[in-house]
Symmetry: C2
Subunit: 224 residues, 2 copies
DNA sequence: ATGCAGCTTATTGTATACAAAGTGCATTCG
DNA sequence: CGAATGCACTTTGTATACAATAAGCTGCAT
């Protein structure tokens, strides 16, 4: 991550996630270059990546804007994610190694700890949660699937979703992970896929609720 | 579209499809730049796009190679395509406009003509086939879905698949399109999705058969 | 007022030179 | 003889200048 284009990438990405760059505003390569302390070349590189990940949109004449997500867009993204990630779970069920299984358990324990404290440690939850899903993807052993899911998951709104969770949702999430583990233990792909679909759908509704209440405030510490 | 980087993109892409650039070989930016008659800058741009579309792979130290697809990779791609495209068909069934329906029929007629002649006009088949699937995607009205499918469809091996079809397969394809049209007429998403799944799976097996027979020769006129 | 022509400015695209990083070979030392 | 190390060379990354193109504006004509 020492390359200039990588620095530009994560810098711009975090500015979008933190709300420093608000949805809809135009972004100019040169301005970003100055902000990131690099030249336009690596910034252009970063913008291409961010565009592919739908953080940024470009109009007909190639000007870039911070992506603005409607609730419909969001549901669509979750729908795709549910489809792809349940497919991943099905594949993973038949391929999971003992080591991967153990790591899944470890991260789910981490989640448990993060939400057991009197006040939940959300960043910790997020990290373990991310790892958990990553391992399933790893077990699914499909580069294309991984790449596509990255596209759906690495999106401004999706990344913020967990922050909207109340404690009950966090716990349900934890228990759904337990059920996934059970499905994996039985190498039951259908079961795993079904649980995963529900898992993602619930996440969507949790976010949608919060979204309706106007709780979609930029939150700074998500940025990584 | 910007001239140089697009020219580079389609030039390199067609070189890969035609077999001029063989799977596994390393490709250097400067060499491509000379071949395309542009500088390295637009070539780098094109390479990024081709990498996202899995025409090209990069190793740990950022060197680029023409992607080499195993039969497993291929099946995986078709599996994803079946999943995504049947999802698209389901959505399309509920949203298709009269105009889109008419255009679907037109292209399927075009396909019929292309394969009715004594010797089938494969490029014509391919073109109408492509349009047919595009219209379904258009009716599905999901930018993300469209983008993802592009990734799975715009791949070296997938693009060559139809060329492996014998006449019987071409005709079956045509009739499956008919069935899709019937499903759309009844606005029956489940039916459309089911037909589409079968349509893609058959395409996969048609290719896999040919592939096993070692018929995977580069074919020049696919390019562009 | 309104719409359009032509100019001006803002922004992105491309070329090129140079910097950094990786690779492979050859040489040397154990 | 084998492994490690340094050097030359290959390839990619970055900066910068300039070109092309789109957007916006001004002023004129209707």
């Amino acid at each position: 991550m020492s390359r200039a284009s990588d620095r530009a990438y994560s810098h711009i990405r975090s500015m979008i996630l933190s709300g420093e760059l608000q949805p809809g505003v135009q972004i100019r390569e040169e301005a970003l270059a100055e902000l990131c302390g690099v030249s336009r070349t690596p910034v252009r590189d970063a913008l291409r990546r961010l565009e592919a990940e739908l953080f940024i949109r470009r109009n007909e004449s190639q000007r870039s804007f911070v992506a603005d997500w409607s609730l419909d867009d969001l549901e669509e993204a979750f729908q795709l994610r549910a489809m792809l990630e349940s497919h991943a779970a099905r594949r993973a069920a038949g391929r999971m190694s003992w080591d991967q299984n153990a790591r899944l358990r470890m991260h789910n324990n981490g989640i448990k700890q993060a939400i057991s404290a009197e006040n939940p440690d959300v960043p910790k939850f997020l990290d373990h949660n991310r790892q958990f899903h990553m391992i399933i993807l790893e077990a699914a052993a499909s580069d294309r699937l991984t790449g596509m899911l990255a596209q759906v998951i690495e999106q401004p709104v999706v990344l913020r979703t967990a922050l909207q969770y109340d404690l009950e949702n966090l716990m349900r999430s934890h228990h759904e992970h337990d059920e996934l583990l059970a499905a994996f233990d039985h190498r039951d792909g259908d079961w795993a896929a079904a649980v995963m679909t529900g898992h993602i759908r619930r996440a969507f509704h949790a976010y949608a609720e919060a979204h309706k209440k106007g709780a979609d405030q930029p939150i700074n510490d998500v940025a990584a």
